[in-house]
Structures are given as C-alpha cells and as structure tokens.
Amino acid sequence: MLALVSPALLVILALIVLPVGWLAWQSIYHDGFTLENYRRVFTEDIYWRSFALTFEISLAVTVIALLLGYPVAYLANSVPKGWSILILSLVVLPFWTSVLVRAYAWLALLQRTGVINQLLRYLDVISEPLALVHNTFGTVVATVHILLPFMVLPLYATMQKIPGDLMQAGASLGASPSLTFFRVFLPLSLPGVLAGCTMVFVLCLGFYITPELLGGGRTVMVSMLVSRNVELYNQFGAASAVAVVLLLSVLAIFFVVSRFISLDRVLGQK
C-alpha cells in the first residue's frame, strides 16, 4: 500500500510540505534563532490593523456572497436541467477570466468617469460623482464578484442532494411553501452554506491584486503586508512570519468548521 502511494507522497512532500516548512523556518531563523519577526507581527499596530481589516472585509464579502449566491443556487436547483446549466454557466463564465482583467473592468465601471457614475449623472440622480472605488467599498464589490462561484457551486451541490420528496411531504402535511423552505430545505442546505462561506472567507483572506488595484492604497490587506515586508524591511523573515500567522488562522478556521461538518462531504464526490 505504502509503495503504491509513495510517488504521490513524494509529490506532496516536494510541493507542499517542504516549501511551507522552509517558509516557517525563515520566519524564525536569520543568523540564529529569533522571534523578532513574530514580536513585530503581534506588537506593531499596523499588523493588527491589517489583520482586522482583512477579517472585516472577508466577513463582509462572505455575507454578501451568501445573500447573492443562495437565491442563484436555489433557482438553479429548482428549474429544469437546461436552465440550470445556463445559470451555472453564467456563474462560472467570469471565473475563467483573469482576476486582473476583472479588477480593471470594475475600475472602468466604478471610477469617477466610469459607466455607473456617468449613468447616474445622466439620469440626474446625483450631481457630484460618487466615490465608488479606490476605497473599501470598491474592493468588496469586486471581491464578491470574483468569489461568487465559490459560494454558488457548493450551495448548488448540496441542494442537489436534498430529496424533492421531503418538500412534498412537508406540503402534504399542510405547511406553506415558505414554512417548508425554512423548516425543511434551509436546514438541509446548511452544510453547503458553511462550505461556501468557508471557501469564500478563506480565499478572501489571501486576496492581493483586487485590494491593491481598487483599494486606493488605503485598503492594506495581509497579503499586501507580505509584499511590503519584502520591499520595505527587505526581510523575507518578516514576510514569512505574516504568512505563517495567516496560514495558522486559516487552519484554525478549517479545524473549527470541520467540527460542525465533514468538509469532504460537501467538497468531495459523495
């Protein structure tokens, strides 16, 4: 058995374990053992600010993506097959466009002379252009758009597995459509909600290009701290420490979530 899986283990060792180990090692070793990098991460307020902002943005993005994604997945699940394929393709299509291109597209839509501001001015809704981008708002909008498929797909996968009979059974017992939804469908779709939220939240924690381009320089997320550490402190160790702290937070999140649902049930084939 071990002989059969050893090539796969070697690949995992070479591509995942060694690089991550090297990353962690750099954060504690620089001309000798040091905790200086971690001291900086935990004491300097710019790190706290960045981590707090990153978690805030990730939370906002997750909630908005859920509110937008749930109805879409529900619709895709309840219409005939042909229509659901169309809906899912519309969700996935932008997914195949580069993140960079989509960030610039949002810039073209949201900036002062962008489509939305010009339309609103043309319709006389506003007299001065709104500040829709180069701030946290623009960052959140674009990030939600980019991460939406990661919410819709696990939701859809979970909803597919909910037997339609259960809703009929609920209806036959006299429950209204909304009551069957809230008492039967919604609880059964919760694993999908949790899986989708986890995916979106965790992916958002590591976002770089979008806040860099649409945040106006003030929206400094953790990934940007990593790059700035290399540029400003010229220390890969400091950058590694930030990366390690972020990685550990992600692992902690996965650990907590896995106490509630088995992740592979939703993300895997079964």
């Binding site: 106006g216 700035r228 400003l232």
Partner: protein
C-alpha cells in the same frame, strides 16, 4: 525572451560578417533592467552600440523590482547577473550590505568625469527621471498648479489628488509644500514632512503603487492632479490626453548601474559600465524615450537638439528648478526609518 534571442542572433550575425574576432565573442555579460518600452529604448540607444564597440555579447534579462533578486542571487553565492540598472538607493544599500561591488573609477573614466553627486562608490547614474506635479488641463485650463504649495492648497485648486504610495519623493514634496527650499531638503525633517502629509491626506483619492496606474488615473480623469513620473505624463499627453506637468520643484531621481558582488564576468562588466555612460551613447537615449541622460556631458555632444533637451528632466536649466534626490540619505538609518514609518502613516 525574444529580445534576448534577437540579440544573440544579432551577435552571431555580426560575428559571421567578421566585424568582431572570434576570441572576443566569448566575452559576455548579463544585463538586467526594468523591461518594457524603457529597456527597448536603451537596447537601441546604449546596449547594442556598446556591445558592438566592445565586441561583447550582452544577454538581457528584465525584472520590475530587482532588489529581492539581487539579495537572493548574491546571498546564494552564485549570482547569474552582472550589471543591474536599478534605482540608485538599491545600489547604495546593496553596497553597504556587501551585495554590490565597489567600483574602481580609474577603470571607468567616463563616470569619473561625471559630477560627484551623480555617482557613488558603488554606482553611476544611468538615466534621470523626475517626480513632477502633473495636472489635467481640462480641470485647469489656465492658472494650473505650479508648486507643491499649490498642490496642498485645496481651496485655490479644488479637485481630486493622487500621490505615490511611497515615502521617496513624497516626503520631499511635502517639505517643499511647507516652504523648504529644494536645495535645503537634506537631511529630511521627517516629522515635519509627515505632519504636512497628514494635512493633505483626507484630500488624496488614490495612493498609487505603479507608474501605469498613475498614468491611467490622470488619463481617465479619475484625479485632477498628482505626483507622477515625467515620462508617464508625456506618454499620456502624446496619446492625446489633456494633461500637463511642471518641472518646477520636481524631484530629480535616477536609476544607476551597479555590479553584483561576485559577478561572473566582473572585468567585462566594468568595461561595459564605462561604455554605457559614454556621452554619445547617453545622448542617444532621450532620442528613444523621455528620460534624461545620466551623464550631463551628453548635452554637449550635439546629438540632442535644443528643443528636445528642453523637455528632459536632467537638462541643466530644468535640473536647476528641481531638487536632486539624495539616495545617500534615503539609504541611511534615518531614511530607512522614514520608509518604515510610511506603512503606519498609510494605515492610520
């Protein structure tokens, strides 16, 4: 990649025609710059002529930010690059950290003849650019902002503003806005500069991080005035955007050539360094792109026409209106502390 291949091909062809001897063809260096239109321009103006004159092969590589790579390459003990064209501060900082070779100026007569302020023990100025005040001519058809004090004056010049998300040149601009004369900037009064920046901070719409972004902001009308690099502004203006800029109180900056410590082709690299700052090659550069020569003697070669010279940041009259950036100060402990302080300034 293609550029590299073309260059090699070019050299092979040259060799075949018999312009260079077979023995010389063995001499080569790897030269690294920042890519794009800029590297293309210097290939035509400086690299190809130098290779031809010295009979060497110049392999090219490009990287937007060379510093991490310099550190890793020299740190590994086996650098693969020889000469790097990079912001002067990196040459100085690298020199202090033992990553950059100390130069023997007796072997680089072209550089030895350059002004003291344009070179350091580890580097020679290669080309000049300027951080200037640029503005939209649509917003300011006349009475455009003409100084950093104007940039800070949000009452007299209302409009959206952008600055670079970096302390270098930005602190200088803040001090000039606060009344410090361009030639009295160093050592920078960092506290005073940050205090002045706090004043303008609420009026800054974007803190840009790349030159392309700064050009786009001005071109799209996202901001009405900003600090930008002169070449970026003139490129946008050439494409028809109604934008202008002033050299008044610009911050004159340079990239320099320096040689990696333990470079594989050290002797050839030194020879190349001398050739690269030759006044005639240097004078060729502004014919290709809107950057000024690193060697001021280029203006005496008659290669650059007077009307062209007037547009360049390092032309003596333009240079006199500007502040010359002190990379020595920026790579000093005080400079590095100011750089670190920037991060917390941005996030508060």
């Amino acid at each position: 990649m293609t550029m590299k291949r073309n260059l090699r091909l070019g050299c092979v062809l040259l060799g075949a025609v018999g312009l260079t001897t077979a023995a010389d063809a063995a001499e080569q260096i790897t030269f690294v710059s920042q890519g794009g239109a800029y590297q293309q321009a210097q290939t035509v103006a400086i690299l190809d002529p130098s290779a031809k004159k010295l009979g060497i092969t110049i392999n090219q590589d490009s990287i937007p930010d060379a510093w991490p790579a310099i550190k890793t390459q020299v740190g590994s003990g086996k650098p693969i690059w020889d000469v790097v064209d990079t912001p002067t501060g990196y040459c100085l900082r690298g020199g202090e950290q033992g990553l950059i070779e100390k130069l023997d100026f007796s072997k680089i007569p072209n550089a030895a003849a350059m002004p003291e302020a344009y070179r350091s023990p580890y580097s020679v100025s290669y080309e000049f650019y300027s951080s200037v005040l640029a503005y939209s001519q649509k917003t300011f058809p006349k009475d455009a902002p003409n100084s950093w004090a104007d940039f800070w004056d949000v009452k007299k010049f209302p409009g959206r503003r952008a600055l670079r998300n970096h302390p270098i040149a930005t602190l200088e601009a803040a001090l000039m806005a606060d009344g410090v004369a361009p030639d009295k900037l160093y050592p920078l009064d960092v506290d005073r500069a940050f205090k002045k920046l706090e004043e303008i901070k609420p009026n800054i719409t974007v803190w840009w991080t790349s030159g392309a972004q700064s050009a786009q902001l001005l071109n799209d009308g996202e901001v009405d005035m900003e600090m930008a690099w002169n070449g970026r502004v003139s490129a946008v203006a050439k494409e028809g955007a109604k934008v202008g800029f002033t050299y008044n109180q610009g911050i004159l900056q340079s990239t320099s050539l320096c040689i990696l410590k333990g470079a594989p082709n050290l002797d050839t690299a030194v020879k190349f360094l001398n050739e690269a700052v030759d006044p005639v090659h240097q004078a060729n550069l502004p014919l290709q792109i809107d950057y000024g020569p690193g060697n001021p003697k280029a203006f005496e070669t008659n290669v650059i026409k007077p009307e062209r010279a007037a547009q360049l940041p390092s032309e003596p009259v333009n240079a006199a209106k500007q502040a010359l950036m002190s990379y020595a100060w920026w790579s000093s402990p005080a400079g590095e502390a100011a750089e670190k302080r920037w991060a917390s300034f941005m996030q508060k």
